[in-house]
Subunit: 333 residues, 2 copies
Amino acid sequence: MNRTRIIHAVLFVAVTQLVAASVVLASDPLPSWSDGAAKQSINAFVRLTTTRGGKSYIPPNERIAVFDNDGTLWSEQPMYFQLAFALDRVKALAPKHPEWKTQQPFKAVLEGDLKTVLAGGEHAILELVMATHAGNTTEEFSQIVTNWLATAKHPKTGRLYTDMVYQPMLELLAYLRANGFKTYIVSGGGIEFMRPWTEAIYGIPPEQVIGSSIKTRFEVRDGKPVLVRLPEINFIDDKAGKPVGINQHIGRRPIAAFGNSDGDLQMLQWTCAGKGPALCLYVHHTDGQREWAYDRKSSIGRLDKGLDEAKAKGWSVVDMKRDWKRIYPAEHK
Amino acid sequence: MNRTRIIHAVLFVAVTQLVAASVVLASDPLPSWSDGAAKQSINAFVRLTTTRGGKSYIPPNERIAVFDNDGTLWSEQPMYFQLAFALDRVKALAPKHPEWKTQQPFKAVLEGDLKTVLAGGEHAILELVMATHAGNTTEEFSQIVTNWLATAKHPKTGRLYTDMVYQPMLELLAYLRANGFKTYIVSGGGIEFMRPWTEAIYGIPPEQVIGSSIKTRFEVRDGKPVLVRLPEINFIDDKAGKPVGINQHIGRRPIAAFGNSDGDLQMLQWTCAGKGPALCLYVHHTDGQREWAYDRKSSIGRLDKGLDEAKAKGWSVVDMKRDWKRIYPAEHK
């Protein structure tokens, strides 16, 4: 290209980008959010922290936003989706485990008796997770998760699980990233259960996913290095574990945190106890028609202490029924 | 601004950027590297993986490069710099610990008897680290590290420790980042010992630092949430621990790995066993005059098995004496 053509080409690109930028500025980045206190607090926070020269300006490298996953970015009823995965894995692996026909909690799973499974409490769940999540390599497990998500359907909605992510939160993630925020997942769910799909679905790469984990061991098998997943807990990323996990992985205090349950309370406390401006927000499940309505008494995603603390500290609370025009991406307004 | 002024302004910015880009393209991004096999392999790898349309093209989100720290990004002789920090901390804390006057390995430290300290082996080192790295909050510890690095001088060079980073590696980090790579530290050193300064010195933010760690506990003290550092090992990020740490933090296999010792061997094996193109490089300490010369027999940074495997697998090996025109940033060529 000669010099004039280069200048023309650059001018074209520059003007195109300018036009694109104006369109972004002019349109609402959160179209699925009703105008209300929650949306206003988000907009005000982004403006406050990204306006150069303002006294609350935060440089981009410190704009860390953390999101719980279950119940905050996607649904979690009638059971955590990862538990549905574990139950399906028990069925898939059963032919190799004849002993499961008589051994709880596997027997109950194979008989479709969810009540007995859940009656076994945390111990039963842990046993199911270990039996279905360990014993393979990290690459094998990632493939198993990917295959399951491509076909498994939610028992109530009949949708793929990854179609049950919240449209308003997808918009919020994109809005924050467009404003220089680095978005993280900080979930009680399994880190390796989330990583195979969070980049495609949420735009969150694996290195920005923090979760619970089992231990792994490096081995060289037939000259090929692998990481083997062991039936041993490494880290539980829930409650007081969330600030610990954040510190381990990020090493810097977030300035925005989004959760939906008491399991997220310490993460919000940690985030909103920093020196500068911070945004703490709870998603409150209030829409029994379009999603589920639950809070203080629910065994899954209980929001009790958190609701009180949000009120006491002036944190934002999303009323899903009132604040969200749309729940899932495929849904019409 | 009216439309014409906007176009002029945009044109100015665009042309300026174009000129800047040409300058970058025209000049050598690795000026402290002698022309040789190591530099050529780096350049070839970057070209190969970033050329759009090429069959070895790697999208930016998968361009993960991992760097050991001690002996790879900064010096590690005559002892790991973090050990020098621990020894200084013992002296600083001694007034509060009268019992250390008679108790090993503290007694030896206070008497300046390094030989006895090191004769205590790993157990003695661990005891020193626990006594000096735990018992405070994450914020307090970060401040202690920052203060130490601002004043402590290396016993041989008289320089600040952060002035003993390798200029050629700073150039390599910047070169990779300019080509869309995400650069990580994966070190046997303490994660919280590195994070306070890696962003300023290496351009590597805390969330891209992986290292060994002790456990922390979330507590609310006087209404203020803190993370307390406990005298209990959480994770040792060395040898077979490095691929485990990489998987925990990044969740994706790197495509480039840089180390200098047998402690980095599994990290290089893991990186170079991926399906696509990958670069594995060892820094070989061969310059006894400008730095230190050591390899197969050294107790610090031993490079023995790694040297053999590099030869067998055709990995790149930097001969510091021959390949680096300059060692430290402040040094003249």
